[in-house]
């Protein structure tokens, strides 16, 4: 291989690494700037409430329907596996723990990144492309305070609520299949679930996860929109990065959080 090709290749890798580090630094500064401007998002609560509506309320259908089906499948698969070991009556606790600890926050987070995260990125990216953000700046209105911070907090507040609703619908789906369809005893289903799931650590861990996922996905969504190249292609690429980056961030953070939470539980 000619030396010049090797040098060119190394240069490309080096440039890519420097760009990636620079972008991480910019994202960190952006996060600090969003936090700095956050008080305005709460002083003008109607702006944040509007974003909760767009990110949260409009995501309800996909979250609830997905939760219902995931719960129904979990009921069928769970009962089939548990029944082989004569533990079919434990379906309630199995479904409850799976949803509250893992599936609720993770699947709701993935759906949130696809539905709301992509919409936030596309909206901010298009505002940049059509010079609406520049116009706002020239009107002495900071887009970070007026546009970005309310969307960020709208996502952070919506995400745990959506995850909770996902889990509720999942449990309901498992109840429909397990109790109504298969015939698991109603009292056993709910009684086992009540006895086996604690508010601390099971439910609180699920809430912590969904809040962390909400922060990660919302930050990625607003950052990608704000940093998008102001072209149709640029907005399209930014939207894709939000969905891919948001989903990977959720899966990676889930592993890290689960490790810490599992260690915490083991020490109790």
């Amino acid at each position: 291989m000619p030396a010049s090709t090797v040098v060119r290749g190394m240069r490309r890798i080096g440039a890519g690494a420097i760009n990636a580090i620079a972008r991480c630094g910019f994202a960190a500064r952006f996060f600090v700037a969003v936090l700095y401007h956050s008080p305005s998002a709460f002083r003008r609560l109607q702006l944040t409430a509007r974003e909760i509506y767009f990110a949260g309320v409009l995501s309800l259908v996909v979250i609830m329907v997905s939760g219902l089906f995931v719960g129904m499948v979990l009921g069928l698969q769970g009962y089939d596996s548990l029944n082989k070991y004569g533990a079919g009556d434990s379906l309630g606790i199995f479904v409850g723990l799976s949803l509250v600890r893992e599936l609720g926050p993770v699947v709701a987070g993935l759906l949130f990144a696809s539905r709301a995260g992509s919409a936030i990125t596309a909206e901010i990216g298009l505002m940049k492309t059509t010079e609406q953000l520049s116009a706002m700046e020239m009107m002495a209105v900071d887009p970070l305070a007026r546009i970005v911070a309310p969307r960020f907090w709208g996502g952070v507040i919506s995400m745990p609520l959506l995850a909770a609703l996902f889990s509720v619908m999942g449990v309901f789906g498992a109840y429909l299949v397990g109790v109504r369809l298969i015939g698991v005893d109603n009292g056993t289903f709910w009684g086992n679930m009540q006895a086996g799931i604690d508010f601390w650590p099971d439910i609180t861990n699920g809430i912590i996860k969904s809040v962390v996922f909400g922060v990660a996905v919302s930050l990625i969504a607003v950052f990608e929109g704000y940093d998008a190249k102001p072209t149709a292609e640029g907005v399209s690429a930014a939207t894709t990065r939000t969905v891919v980056g948001g989903s990977l961030a959720i899966l990676a953070l889930d592993f890290v959080l689960t490790v810490f939470m599992f260690r915490g539980m083991a020490n109790v």
């Binding site: 505002m127 059509t130 010079e131 609406q132 520049s134 116009a135 700046e137 020239m138 009107m139 002495a140 209105v141 900071d142 007026r146």
Partner: protein, 282 residues
């Protein structure tokens, strides 16, 4: 026209009478390729001044430097006597409250109605009661002839109407200075004339200063008091509309007459044509 004439009469007046002063301004997005090279211009208060030149010559960059969205590498940009680069963020935002800007395609907020767009700066920067804001917005929209379109969404407007709404929004807070970025681009002849006349009338009626970045020579000559021609990041000619009409400067003539070739070449620099065509044979 002299490419480097003495400053116009208005420009030699005392600094206080100038709304904008640029002195030896150099700017580039990177150090190797400066976009502006030693730009010096003065824009007196109460005048309509056009900055003209081909696409990509740095006209819009000048507006962004005046508005503080970009910072020059050297030289000074003064607006209302204040050096823009030296302003704190708060002071810059205070200055921007006295500046209106009309973007090339209006930059109207697409999730708001026409009414809400014009009301936006008032709601953000004043504590005026809603009934008063309503009256003020209707007055601004009436001035641009679009009071009847107050409840339309920007997507329901034609290009010319959107530009007029953006104009109403730009003067919503009665600024001292309004900057227009390509206000005539993509407009039909009627809309073009309407927008041109509105720029002149609003300037005179409100006693503001207007800076118009454009490449529409004929429309500009009808409404402006003074013109600067920019090419490749430098001011290469300037004068009153009459100076421009009578100019023998080759660049000005090419621009005014719309000649495809001249000081601004038709062809982008490339190796000889024959060499390119026969390259594959070799």
């Amino acid at each position: 026209m002299n490419p480097n004439p003495p400053q116009p009469a208005a420009a030699t007046a005392v600094a206080a009478t100038n709304a904008i002063e640029l002195a030896d301004v150099t700017f580039g997005y990177n150090r190797r390729q400066p976009v502006l090279k030693g730009i010096t211009m003065t824009i007196p208060r109460g005048k309509v001044v056009a900055i003209m030149g081909g696409s990509g010559c740095g006209k819009t960059t000048i507006l962004r430097l005046i508005g503080g969205q970009l910072r020059q590498q050297s030289g000074t940009v003064r607006v209302g006597g204040q050096s823009v680069r030296d302003l704190s963020r708060e002071a810059l935002f205070a200055l921007r409250r006295r500046i209106g800007m009309l973007f090339q395609f209006g930059a109207l907020f697409t999730d708001m109605t026409v009414f809400e767009n014009v009301a936006f700066p008032m709601r953000e920067h004043t504590d005026l009661a809603d009934p008063l804001i309503r009256d003020l917005v209707l007055m601004k929209l009436h001035a641009v002839g679009l009071r009847g379109a107050a409840q339309f969404k920007p997507s329901e407007l034609s290009g010319g109407m959107a530009r007029r709404v953006a104009l109403a929004r730009a003067v919503a807070l009665d600024p001292m200075l309004v900057m227009y970025d390509e206000p005539f681009a993509g407009l039909d002849p009627i809309s073009l004339g309407v927008v041109g006349q509105l720029i002149r009338k609003l300037n005179d009626a409100l006693g503001i200063t207007s800076v118009v970045v454009t490449h529409d020579v004929y429309e500009s000559l009808k409404i402006v008091d003074y013109l600067y021609f920019v090419s490749a990041g430098r001011i290469i000619a300037q004068g009153t509309p009459d100076d421009v009409r009578n100019s023998t400067d080759p660049f000005v003539r090419q621009f005014v007459d719309g000649e495809p070739d001249g000081p601004v070449p038709f062809h982008y620099p490339a190796r000889p044509y024959a060499e390119d065509l026969t390259a594959h044979a070799r």
